[in-house]
């Protein structure tokens, strides 16, 4: 019997294919599953196997021809019993093929005609339990796989597209509209005016791009305010100088100012919960843990490993954790776990000589603190009502904060808290006291 060979559906929204090379010709004997022709789609090139054993009787589609899925491309003669005799169904206009519903034509429970009018056609809208659907989580950036794919394909910035979906979600239609209107055009690397000969164009690394996105996000969403305070760390400096070596000997890690600052910051965060919070979906979320991210400069850019549950940890503890974290960060061994869950960020910009800095908050946190350079300065001290000038080691603390959550007073209170702890350290300071 004649078996019609059709182009199979390969799915995945591929609707047509090009006939590549015919591997068999008319009159050739073919075995079931033996490749007979090459088909080329925009996704993949593949060989079509023979559906049965027999002889090719007719080649219908030529090499190079584009045919839709399901089209007959050849015929073969086979003696195998076919499962189905698929004759073409006659052409009936679609609406007639579906048919119409005849109201009142009821079939009774045991088969016969049933004219029970108690089965009212407009029964009251009874809430049946529909299978539980997807519960909207609010307007967190929820991008569906389709939206991400479309945006990436057209180079669109999803943050800039207005979302009309549930909870402010950017939907397929929103992206399509943005593509259509062209308002959100791909940021062109070069417009003729902004480039001059000799300019070097560097394609940013993935990390750099991520940092860039983060910075844009943070500065566009969070209203940043800034406050600074001076800290007299003379006692701290003395103490550290004296205890540097025994500390390292005992704990195996260097005693830098970082664990001490972290210690002071964690303590202050505990007393000022609004600094350890986040503005989410119109609400202030006070975080339950104090996880302080510590900015580390690496070859790849800034990374921020997070010290979890920092409050209550001792300085040696923090020093060990920090040492390990920073080591991992500098050797590109940081895990996702290391970098996530942060509720506050600490950045030691002073190590590079900075005396004042306005850091950008690490979204979606509420604040970021920089510890600036320790500089010896002539400072006026008042003792017993008498003013005098002394040379003291001074360090500035700068706090950038989310002014939706935190006002100047709270910012100052926090900074004061950190300052007090740091200034309380002198030669008599006991690590375990």
């Amino acid at each position: 019997m004649i078996l019609r060979i059709e182009l199979p559906h390969v799915g995945e929204s591929v609707t047509e294919a090009e006939i590549g090379e015919w591997l068999k010709s008319t009159g050739d004997k073919i075995e079931k599953y033996e490749p007979i022709v090459e088909i080329v789609t925009d996704k993949v090139s593949m060989e079509l196997p023979a559906p049965a054993t027999g002889v090719i009787t007719k080649i219908i589609s030529e090499e190079g021809e584009t045919v839709p899925m399901g089209a007959i491309i050849a015929e073969m003669e086979t003696s195998e019993i076919s499962e189905i005799d698929t004759t073409e169904p006659p052409d009936v206009p679609a609406s007639n093929r579906i048919g119409t519903l005849i109201q009142g034509a009821n079939v009774g429970p045991t088969g016969g005609e049933f004219l029970d009018t108690s089965m009212a056609s407009n029964t009251p809208e009874i809430q049946s339990k529909e299978t539980k659907g997807f519960v909207s989580k609010g307007n967190e950036a929820r991008y569906s796989p389709l939206v991400v794919r479309l945006a990436s394909k057209h180079g669109l910035d999803l943050n800039a597209i207005n979302g009309t979906g549930d909870g402010g979600r950017v939907t397929k239609n929103d992206v399509l509209a943005a593509i259509d209107s062209g308002e959100n055009s791909k940021v062109s690397v070069t417009s003729v005016d902004s480039m001059t000969l000799g300019d070097e164009v560097i394609k940013p690394t993935a990390v750099r791009r991520m940092i860039a996105d983060r910075m844009v996000r943070s500065t566009s969403e969070i209203p940043h305010a800034w406050s600074a305070i001076e800290v007299d760390v003379s006692g701290l400096v003395t103490w550290r100088t004296a205890n540097k070596e025994p500390f390292e000997k005992e704990h195996g890690v260097p005693l830098t100012y970082l664990p001490i600052a972290l210690f002071a910051v964690s303590g202050a965060l505990k007393l000022n919960p609004y600094i350890n919070s986040s503005w989410v979906d119109g609400k202030i979320v006070l975080k339950s843990s104090i996880n302080v991210g510590v900015a580390v400069a690496t070859d790849d850019g800034l990374v921020v490993p997070v010290i979890k549950n920092a409050e209550g940890a001792s300085i040696p503890d923090l020093a060990c954790q920090l040492d390990q974290m920073i080591d991992r960060a500098r050797n590109s061994k940081m895990t996702l776990e290391d970098a996530s869950g942060g509720t506050f960020t600490l950045n030691n910009t002073g190590v590079l000589g900075s005396i004042l800095g306005g850091a950008i908050i690490n979204h979606p946190q509420a604040a970021i603190l920089t510890t600036e350079a320790i500089v010896k300065r002539p400072v006026v001290l008042t003792k017993k009502g008498e003013d005098s000038v002394e040379i003291r080691s001074m360090m500035n603390l700068c706090l950038s904060f989310d002014h939706r959550i935190i006002d100047g007073a709270e910012a100052s209170r926090f900074l004061q808290g950190v300052k007090n702890q740091l200034e309380s350290i002198d030669e008599s300071f006991n690590l375990w006291g």
Binding site: E12, D85, R97, L101, V107, T123, Q127, E130, R149
Partner: protein, 327 residues
């Protein structure tokens, strides 16, 4: 072209097939002397004789077992289970035996058996005349399961089922027997087993459905169109094997899917369709795959109010469409 109800299309198909092929016999309860409780075989015993149209005792296992035996021995039987609710005693013959004939004999034997089963509710049938039974058979390799929703499809699919050389179960929703009337050509035609059909083209979401629900989905789609939501409606037509390609093509195009079925949802056809969509359309989805089905209740209620609360309706489908459209 004649306009037939679904049950008329079934009847005409069987009549034409039995005239065409003498090896086709009918076996079931009340198929001969009463002409079938739904009149599906009305006049058949008069035309084809008692040797070819056989009344059985009230024994489903016997109906399927005898039909299977006949099938393996050169006949082409159509077995009728009077109501899907009664098929359970026949499960061993169908799932335990019929599905395994070709495989178990390494192709030496095959069973060209067709089993017609009226199913479904909204007929005030209560516990024992309303059941949806498709899941168990749709899970079984070696069986093919079709569920035509329209008279046109019923003729084409039943013809293919009868001519198939392996067991095919034809599920006919009894509510659609007289409810749906449509064009059915008189010439001989078949429709491919394992092929779904898009009954309504759309762009915003795809509803996947079958049986009575197909018609309610179409009604809901029309209402949705008036609200600016363009719904594509896909009729599965075959429940085993499910037409993955057509489903994937449709959902990839629209980006959203709503599966509407009359059977309770846990471990059902909708579960399989959802898995197919999740696997093949992940990067084309703009929203979660949703299902609309009755509550998990052991039987269709008998009281009209409760039955209405149980069954999906065009209104409930429209409500689900609206929800999915903005999700």
């Amino acid at each position: 072209m004649p306009e037939l109800t679904l049950i008329e299309a079934i009847r005409e198909t069987m009549r034409d097939e039995m005239r065409r092929d003498e090896s086709i016999i009918l076996i079931g309860e009340d198929v001969a002397n009463r002409g079938g409780v739904f009149l599906a075989t009305d006049g058949f015993v008069e035309e084809f004789g008692e040797d070819r149209v056989i009344d059985t005792p009230l024994a489903e296992s016997l109906i399927c077992g005898v039909a299977l035996g006949a099938a393996v021995n050169g006949m082409r039987p159509i077995a009728e289970i009077q109501f899907a609710d009664f098929v359970w005693p026949a499960i061993n013959q169908l799932v335990g035996e019929a599905s395994k004939v070709r495989y178990g004999t390494n192709g030496v034997k095959n069973a060209p058996l067709t089993i017609r089963i009226p199913y479904g509710g909204e007929v005030r049938g209560g516990l024992y005349h309303s059941q949806s039974i498709e899941v168990l058979f749709s899970h079984t390799p070696g069986l093919t399961v079709v569920a035509p929703s329209t008279p046109f499809d019923a003729r084409g699919l039943l013809a293919s089922a009868i001519r198939a050389n392996d067991p095919v179960i034809v599920l006919e929703h009894k509510r659609t027997y007289r409810l749906v009337k449509g064009d059915v050509p008189t010439d001989d035609y078949t429709l491919p087993l394992g092929r779904a059909e898009i009954k309504r083209l759309g762009t915003d979401m795809t509803i996947v459905s079958y049986g009575l629900m197909l018609h309610y989905a179409l009604q809901a789609a029309e209402s949705a169109a008036a609200e600016g939501i363009d719904v594509e409606v896909l009729d599965l037509r075959t429940l085993r094997p499910i037409d993955t390609a057509t489903i994937v093509e449709s959902v990839s195009k629209t980006g959203k899917a709503l599966i509407v079925q009359e059977d309770t949802p846990a471990v059902s056809i909708s579960s399989e369709v959802a898995a197919i969509i999740a696997e093949h359309c992940f990067f084309d989805l703009d929203g979660p795959v949703m299902r609309l089905a009755p509550p998990e209740i052991p039987a269709m209620p008998f009281s009209p109010l409760q039955e209405a609360a149980f069954m999906p309706s065009p209104e409930k489908i429209l409500s689900a469409i609206r929800k999915l459209a903005v999700l």
